[in-house]
């Protein structure tokens, strides 16, 4: 019934008109690619997502993985979908040709991820996690380890997990207790419990490769004492065949509000004496290795949040176009036909708000991915460093802004559907439940905001680079009459952002770090609104050109829609930063000083 999971017209607009990602094909890494190959991959992802992922999404939600006869069983459609996914090469989409990969830009893989997630986030989580796992192994493991584990992880024979947190640690990885005792060169005996391990057990693959943060016996307390270990569910013989079961046991399946098809597990390592664990890289570098993967992982969470909101938004538009209800203001003739609800101003408000979030979010995610590609593959070191700096400072925004606001798009999509949106006959409520995870995992908003204000703001010239990028766009569009008002809004906001940042730094100097950081989540939100506004202005800039250049009515409507959404965001959302900046600048201590006993 619904035409698209994510608007293909919008994907093309963002990739080729706004961000000009076609120019990635000029880089040596992507020299064999062209817009045509990109488009083909995207079209394949869309087809697979629609044909093999989306059709069982509701069924999987209603039929959670179950522990039966010693294994965790999923409905068979999951495995079938993954077979198609791997057969089409998506398990190694961004990998080197030598590894059987397609050597695609990360940005293109982000679009594919959006499509698969929009179709079925739970099923897609298994290969997504395995891909992240494979990247860690590729970047930090020994050649011997790579030879044994990398290829099966890329072709889907093995799947992978990230086993970081523990029941007593939560976000405080410094408090991880899992212990690794040395057995022989590079081999350890590991004991401990890990919680919230997605994909921690199932029967979708021959083997599951856990990447486990643990502390080598005698290592210092805190994050400096953490090392990274490879712990397979089944030991792998030197010839690649599977050996005996390792000492890793399923402690329990965690039942969640949404994302129900992705197993979330409590894992016991070493209950029978010790799990065989192989050190990856150097001892004590565990968190450093994880952090090097974190930018892309956080973009991944962000684009996942975008996808779940985006597909709900498109369904709300379809519904609003089709559903007759009520009449125009002032029309009291009950015999006249009802209007499609999209004719009501408040429905338009909700759709415009959702549109500004999901299309703004997709632009944000793709911009982040573009930075990651530039950082990794651009031949010019200056460009690389600039992209790296922008990526660092934006990572908290890339993760948290879509998690918050694209979930809001899900809220609005339900609201547009009225009572129907609350029923399980429509996928809206499931998408809302699924998306509720995103503000939590990979670092809550609180964690992200401390990362931004406590760390990233001081990382080289990232902050000034960001301000400069925004200022450059303002300069570029300053004299476009249709954008004059919007330029004014963004310019004012940028100035306020700079003043607020300066004021915060003064507060840090005069009052100390604790108060400086107390309202960091507000600062993160302001930064997100500013950055998304900037990217919306860039979209509007292209839309203006499109309106002049392309008279086709469908194209005119598309570009006008972009102008509307940009206007909405800069008129309705961006001005909210002013009240927030006042609070930040005043060093407001309302929350900071609220004593525990007063709640």
């Amino acid at each position: 019934m619904q035409a698209e999971l994510i608007s293909r017209r919008d994907i093309d607009f963002l990739l080729y008109e706004v961000l000009d990602l076609e120019k990635l094909t000029q880089l040596e890494r992507f020299a064999d690619h062209s817009r045509e190959t990109f488009d083909q991959v995207i079209a394949t992802a869309e087809t697979l997502a629609r044909d093999y992922f989306e059709p069982h999404a509701a069924k999987l939600d209603e039929n959670e993985p179950q522990f039966k006869n010693g294994t965790v069983e999923l409905i068979p459609e999951v495995k079938e979908a993954l077979e198609h996914f791997y057969a089409a090469g998506f398990g190694a989409a961004t990998q080197d040709y030598e590894l059987g990969g397609m050597q695609l830009p990360f940005s293109i893989s982000v679009i594919c991820k959006a499509l698969f997630t929009a179709g079925n986030v739970s099923t897609h989580a298994y290969p997504a996690l395995s891909g992240a796992n494979a990247n860690v192994i590729k970047n930090f493991a020994s050649q011997e380890q790579k030879d044994l584990y990398l290829q099966p992880l890329l072709d889907g024979r093995f799947t992978g997990t990230m086993a970081l947190t523990e029941p007593q640690a939560g976000s405080s990885l410094a408090d991880i207790k899992t212990l690794a005792k040395p057995v022989s060169e590079g081999v350890y005996s590991l004991k401990g419990n890990k919680i919230f391990i997605s994909g921690g057990d199932h029967s979708l693959s021959e083997n599951i490769i856990h990447l486990v943060l643990a502390r080598v016996q005698g290592a210092p307390a805190g994050i400096k004492g953490l090392s990274l270990f490879l712990v397979p569910k089944y030991l792998v013989n030197p010839d690649g065949s599977l050996g005996p079961r390792n000492d890793v046991a399923l402690g329990g399946l965690i039942h969640k509000m949404g994302y129900r098809g992705t197993t979330s597990t409590l894992l016991h390592f070493g209950e029978q004496g010790g799990a065989v664990a192989y050190l990856i890289g150097e001892a004590g570098q565990g968190l450093a290795y994880m952090f090097q993967m974190m930018n892309e992982a956080r973009i991944g969470v962000g684009v996942g949040a975008v996808a779940l909101g985006y597909t709900a938004y498109l369904q709300a538009v379809d519904y609003a176009l089709d559903r007759p209800q009520g009449r125009a203001v002032g029309n009291r003739d009950a015999a006249s036909p009802q209007l499609a609800i999209i004719q009501h101003a408040d429905i338009r408000r909700m759709l415009l708000e959702a549109k500004s979030y999901v299309e703004g979010g997709l632009c944000l995610s793709l911009y982040g991915a573009q930075l990651a590609d530039t950082k990794s593959w651009h031949p010019d070191k200056t460009e690389q460093e600039k992209a790296a700096a922008l990526l660092e400072i934006l990572t908290p925004v890339l993760k948290s802004w879509p998690s918050r606001y694209c979930l809001e798009a899900n809220y609005l999509a339900i609201q547009v559907h009225g009572g129907y949106g609350y029923t399980r006959d429509y996928p809206l409520e499931r998408l809302y439940r699924d998306n509720r995870l995103n503000p939590i995992h990979e670092g809550t908003e609180g964690i992200q905001s401390l990362d931004l204000l406590g760390r990233k703001l001081f990382m080289g010239d990232a902050y000034s680079l960001l301000c400069k990028e925004i200022a450059e766009t303002l300069e570029a569009v300053r004299h476009t009459p249709a954008l004059a008002e919007l330029v004014g809004h963004l310019e004012e906001a940028l100035q306020k952002f700079r003043q607020t940042t300066d004021r915060l730094l003064e507060l840090k100097a005069s009052q100390g770090t604790a108060l400086f950081l107390a309202n960091s989540s507000l600062y993160l939100d302001v930064t997100g609104k500013l950055v998304v506004s900037w990217l919306w202005l860039r979209q509007a800039q292209v839309a203006c050109q499109g309106l002049s250049a392309n008279p086709a009515s469908q194209e005119q409507a598309f570009y006008r829609g972009k102008m509307n959404a940009c206007q909405y965001y800069l008129r309705w959302e961006l001005p909210k930063i002013h009240a927030a900046c006042e609070l930040l600048s005043s060093g407001d201590a309302t929350c900071y000083q609220a004593e525990a006993e007063t709640f």
Copy 2:
């Protein structure tokens, strides 16, 4: 594990210190009551809610009502809970003594409703709906109808529904098609389909009494042609015994995101030829009768939303006090013990935000209920009319503000719990799913905002009365030093609200009603923030007195908590209205003008 469903200290504070509801006992209607009887009823409600409602809430959510062997079956705990509920007299709490009622003020019943809802919203919905149904019958039905149906509805032998909307009508009740053909004096043969009928079928009671909006054959189109009918599932003989099954069939159970234990049904009336339906009151008055019940029904939705958010907030506080994680900013000694997370500024921010919503919401609901009691029972006609006017203009706020912001409290409570909050091992995710219904039913926010700006603003002197009430509080506390800053915030906001309202009325005159109403949901939100800020200032006023009068440390902490939450709301939330007022005053047409084809 959790101490309370709703804070009893807060209930006492709001009832007796802030709103002085004890003075209701001076009214003839409540002359037999005293603070002691109120307290006893509240204590009983709390005990029943904890002992019989809350324990099966999770089980009911996991075991939805099912259609089996011709009936809709629920887990047995529901019926048991209702037996206790009715045995304790809650089915007729506010009813006349002659009807076996307790003749309690509506405000006290609102507290009881909050407690039952916090315990188990789905189970409580059955008697809540039956009570609303009984009130319609009491107020508008004939003596003969009352004799047959009222008592069984109050004692739980019968239950009741409100069968208003239809698949093609949604919120547009003007488009209801169900048809009633006259058969004999007051008796009709009814045909049509009704959707989203809560409690529409089940085996909890001997009979189900549907109140059905329908159109008498030949009646005009639109809402003026609607009449209200009583349609029992089983016909009732003149002696009160049950006769044959009426022509009402279950068309289907609707499966929802939350509120899963309350059946939501599609009902077919008259599939076998025609359901026996009895006209209530006069033909053509159907919607008028429903509207007279709507203020209390909408307060009911509001307080339900408060309760679901409130109980989640209390759980988040408990969790934050108990859960160790992370260390103070600047403490890098990983060997030092972890802090309880309530020590982190961002956790306090979330708790303070949630506190300001749920305690502000409870105060709002109780204030609304107080207006309803005054309107109904005050001997002074001027007081009655004043209360009626305030209640009218505030009803959209009473319904929509808690629905929006107490759901946000559920969001925050999950966030405080981190990953655990997303699991079904904690009740947080269920409460969030349950509360998601409240912004939808009994009129979406869009509908409420049109009611406020399009109707209530012009209803007598309601608007100026509201402004005057707020101004009076400002005068009363103007010279309290501890409140000076807060007075400033509210005064500025009131002024802005008045200016914005004036400007909107100018816009209406100059540009017409459609544009005037286009951004009504923004106006509703501004009004809600203003009113809740005002009520927070009233709470702070009392808290100031309490801080001086009561040196006990627990009391000091309680009152300081009230000051903190008031400060949070007036510093962090209220200033958000300024950007909204700018948009409203400018007659912003961004949403209004967004054409359907541009989405």
